[in-house]
């Protein structure tokens, strides 16, 4: 049985751990609010962008000269998986669940005889994937120096991906990230970005929408917009991911704080019990000493 001093030390160490997790939870809550804000601010742009792009794609899509970013290269032999994770741990199963999803996909593609290439964003995903798939890596994007995610960061990643695409390094690109639902629920998601996949335009209830004039012509606009579309999709994925990360960290730290509290309660009871035992012992010793006289 641990001595009173040991128990006291343990209680104070758990107490300071609780202080840390509590602080981390509050920091995560504040960051989450900011991340959610950023995600919301970017939504109008992404929505409108996709609307215009969808309309354009629908009108050009069928033609043989459609850009490769839209129609694909005609094969699907080489897949590029862009796995986005956090730069830091201590956020529950956040990183692992994204990696797990990517891992399943890699196994599936490999079983189907495809070539897989991996590009990671965020340190944690790289660490986990490197163990099993080190030979599949083609690159890594480090965002640990980035304090506030900007569109420029997404543009950098998009540029990297597009350069590889233009060089014919892969046929299909998919991004893996975590979609933010709420604080306790983040869903690991895979989304194909090249060739661009659009949800079919809504049914013809309200006609086909206004007929636009295009300046310059449709195909040149489309060629101009598609690379931006890639950047936009990556940007929204990054923002969703950032919000998910903070959400996951917040609930993980909340759990840790609660567990620490329970542990302190248990240890305090044990401490009190052994303190009483010691007192009783001493009393017995005094009384039996007095009786012996």
């Amino acid at each position: 049985m641990p001595s009173l001093k040991d128990l006291k030390n343990r209680i104070s160490s758990v107490k300071s751990t609780r202080k840390i997790t509590k602080a981390m939870q509050m920091v995560a809550a504040a960051k989450l609010r900011r991340a959610q804000d950023a995600a919301e601010q970017s939504r109008p742009y992404a929505e409108r962008f996709n609307k215009v792009l969808g309309a354009l794609a629908a009108s050009v899509g069928g033609s043989a000269t459609a850009p490769k970013l839209l129609s694909g290269t005609g094969h699907d032999d080489v897949h590029l998986l862009v796995v986005m994770t956090a730069e830091r741990g201590l956020c529950g199963g956040f990183n692992s669940s994204i990696v797990k999803k990517a891992r399943v996909e890699i196994e599936k593609l490999r079983a189907a005889g495809k070539t897989v290439k991996i590009l990671t964003v965020g340190k944690k995903g790289r660490e986990q994937l490197k163990r099993d798939f080190a030979d599949l890596f083609v690159g890594h994007v480090d965002l640990s120096e980035v304090k506030k995610l900007g569109y420029a960061d997404a543009q950098g990643i998009a540029k990297d991906v597009l350069t590889r695409f233009d060089a014919g390094e892969f046929d299909v690109a998919t991004i893996f990230y975590s979609a933010f639902v709420n604080v306790v629920s983040q869903i690991p998601t895979a989304q194909q970005i090249i060739p661009a996949a659009f949800e079919a335009p809504e049914s013809d209830e309200e006609g086909t929408g206004p007929l636009y004039d295009y300046e310059p012509d449709e195909e040149r606009i489309l060629a101009d917009l598609l690379p931006r579309g890639v950047a936009t999709q990556i940007f929204s994925a990054l923002l969703e991911n950032a919000a998910s990360e903070q959400g996951a960290r917040m609930s993980a730290m909340d759990n840790a704080t609660r567990n620490a509290g329970e542990m302190i309660d248990k240890l305090t009871i044990e401490y009190n019990r052994s303190r009483q035992a010691v007192i009783t012992n001493e009393l017995i010793e005094i009384i039996s000493g007095a009786e012996a006289l």
Partner: protein, 144 residues
Amino acid sequence: MADTMQFDLVSPERNLLSAQASTVAIPGSEGDLTVGPGHEPTITTLRPGILKVETDKGAEEFVVTGGFVEIGDGVTVLAEKAVPHADMDQATYEALVSEAEATYRQIKEATNNEPGPVDEAAKLLMDMVAIGGHIGLDPKQPNF
């Protein structure tokens, strides 16, 4: 006909302006255009330039670097980067110009000085430089 229309200026990072506007002057890549209510539905791309909006609360100006415009019932400008004229200072401006300059150099190198893409990048760079003159900043002269 209504004398105003809905105008939205959004960048990937935030919503910059959403207001009722009477006219919007847009620096289009194929030429500048001014849009009033009831304009024909159009989609056009932007070149670096100055976007002028006449709203019910007065005129506002933004420096945009690229993106596109959708003109339908209202006007939606999706700008890659947009800075309100008032926030534009020499340092921001010079950063933008040197960014364009870097792109130009990169393209020039990557394409072996082929006329097509290099010309386009050079045009982009010159547009960027020209903005400086328009907004009363010292136009930074790039080295070609």
